[in-house]
């Protein structure tokens, strides 16, 4: 549909100037639509996909769901995920590794009759300085152990402040929620 641009007579033009004044005048008396930030905050942060966080296991909130497959680190376009994995020989009875508390992990491995190497997630490091928030890691995770945080108010003075250790964050979060 090829149209011609509508032409305007001088009278119409002069009228349009007053119409414009009317529009801005009308808006002048309308209520404001801005959010006065420190006093108000936007209400749509629940849908914001910030940096990633580890998801704890349902039965054990101190352990993450992560199975250490490393898919997220491989999928990341900017190489900002690093998994620190500690290999540990454990006994066959699974009781010891079922709830590897933070202090228990430090315990030296006992020589067992049937050696089995278990890989334990020591740290999950996210370098948020590099992250481009694309969400590839969350999509590739086969066990849904990563989720987006809604943390949008981030500020810091050094780059080091944005190198997050997600496992620690997850545990801190749980401790804070359980104590508070």
């Amino acid at each position: 549909m090829i149209k011609k641009t509508p032409k305007q007579s001088t009278l119409q033009g002069i009228k349009s100037l007053f119409v414009g004044l009317r529009v801005t005048g009308h808006n002048f008396v309308m209520p404001q639509i801005t959010t006065h930030y420190p006093r108000q905050e936007v209400d749509n942060l629940v849908t914001y996909r910030g940096h990633i966080e580890l998801v704890p296991k349902e039965d054990d909130p101190m352990t993450s769901k992560c199975i250490l497959c490393g898919q997220c680190a491989k999928a990341c376009p900017s190489n900002c995920i690093e998994l620190v994995i500690r290999k540990e020989e454990v006994e066959p009875p699974p009781a010891a590794e079922a709830q590897p508390d933070a202090d228990k992990e430090e315990a030296p491995p006992k020589p067992a009759p049937k050696k089995k190497v278990k890989r334990i997630l020591e740290a999950f490091i996210l370098d948020y300085n590099l992250c481009s928030l694309c969400g590839q890691c969350v999509q590739t995770c086969p066990v849904d152990s990563l989720e987006f945080s809604t943390n949008s108010y981030l500020a810091g003075f050094t780059r080091e402040e944005f190198v997050f250790e997600l496992l620690e964050r997850m545990r801190k979060k749980y401790k804070a929620s359980s104590s508070g």
Binding site: I2, T5, G13, S16, V23, Y48, R49, G135, Q136, T140
Partner: protein, 386 residues
């Protein structure tokens, strides 16, 4: 007389090259890379006679990121987030062009619901892009208020897109074979409401700006791009439709499911900045109409293909994904050598072609018109530089 240091007179490589061709008694003016009206870091060297432009040369590359090289070192999915950064205003169209090309290589079937979601979000994104252009263009022309109104409305659309994509500007939402997240009822209701709301706002825009006598006189009859010139430079999108050509990939080579919707391709025959302005204003309404139709006929079903290869390794060959972005034809030419990394990715950005005619179109015009023409071309500098 003022005395200038010798090195100040020489300028950089481009200025020197430009100055070599200058006439006597003319003024060489560097507009940009930091200039209020170049919307980023575009630099234009102008040769002025009074306020008339004798010669203009855009200098690019200030935000060049070698996106094409990045494509050759990243895997196919890893390159996806780059797409939102090429054109941050219509990121979803770039997303789409890329996944379209890769889907063609992979022979991947996209579920119907995902196609609808792509249409809805892409059109919503187009509206946000046009709204920002509208505000920014009026800012170029010296009106401060419209950009605030435009942004207020754009925020609503971005809030909607945030619901499903999680981000507000550089979306990375489409995935090979579908989309990464399904629509939520909140999004659907919000979008319906937004369409109604924007339809009440567009007449206000018309009253405040489109019909304004000063604006009409500013944009009427400047920056004439005849069809022939558009063809030689590869101008596409609203700029081309402002030259009276009803060329729109959504209609000409309907990709995805655009052939199912009833919408007009607005085109104006005047070829000037006003025509391009009106095309975009009309396009927003058409996009609203497409969104409403798509939401009304949204089918149920999955949003990702049932069977996805674990590692994306397209077979050897090439594919050209072309979609209609807010600025014109976005084309992504992918050559695959059968590995997980593209062999060559060529990004055809519409702004690049649209800007390339500036040198020709700006001959003999006023400086103020140059600003106005640049704005009417709707440039996104990161897209030009890639």
């Amino acid at each position: 007389m003022l005395h200038y240091a010798q090195e100040q007179l020489q300028g950089d490589y481009y200025t020197r090259a430009f100055q070599a061709g200058a006439q006597e008694d003319t003024l060489i003016l560097n507009m940009g890379p930091q200039h209020p009206s170049t919307h980023g870091v575009l630099r234009i060297i102008l040769e002025l006679h009074g306020e008339y432009i004798l010669r203009a040369e855009p200098v690019l590359g200030y935000v060049h990121r070698m996106q094409e090289k990045m494509g050759e070192v990243k895997t196919y999915p890893q390159y996806l987030p780059n797409m939102g950064r090429v054109d941050y205003l219509h990121a979803l169209a770039w997303n789409w062009a890329y996944v379209l090309a890769v889907e063609e290589l992979l022979q991947l079937e996209v579920p119907e619901r995902a196609e609808y979601i792509r249409v809805i979000t892409c059109e919503l994104n187009r509206i946000t892009s046009h709204l920002l252009w509208w505000g920014a263009y009026l800012l170029d022309l010296g009106a401060f208020t419209p950009i605030m109104y435009g942004f207020a409305d754009r925020e609503r659309a971005m809030d909607l897109l945030q619901i499903i994509t999680g981000s507000r500007l550089t979306y990375c939402y489409y995935s090979f074979g579908g989309v990464t997240a399904d629509l939520t009822p909140q999004f659907i209701d919000g979008t319906k409401e937004f369409c109604k709301y924007l339809r009440t706002r567009l007449p206000m825009y018309k009253d405040l700006v489109t019909d304004n006598m000063i604006l009409r006189h500013r944009v009427d009859d400047i920056g004439i791009i005849p069809v022939d010139m558009a063809r030689r430079y590869g101008v596409t999108g609203p700029n081309l439709r402002g030259s009276g050509v009803e060329h729109d990939l959504r209609r000409n080579t309907p990709y995805s499911i655009y052939d199912r919707f009833d919408f007009e391709i607005p085109a104006y025959e005047e070829c000037d900045a006003l025509a391009r302005y009106l095309v975009r204003m009309d396009e927003m309404e058409e996009s609203l109409s497409i969104i409403e139709q798509a939401i009304d006929s949204l089918p149920e079903g999955p949003v990702t293909p049932p069977k996805m290869p674990k590692v994306i390794k397209p077979p050897k060959g090439e594919a050209y994904g072309a979609v209609e972005g807010a600025r014109g034809v976005i084309g992504i030419h992918v050559i695959s050598d059968g590995t997980a990394t593209p062999y060559r990715i060529k990004l055809r950005s519409p702004s690049f072609s649209n800007l390339s005619l500036f040198a020709e179109v700006s001959e003999g015009i006023l400086l103020a018109d140059a600003v106005s023409i640049l704005g009417s071309l709707d440039l996104v500098i990161p897209e030009i530089d890639r």
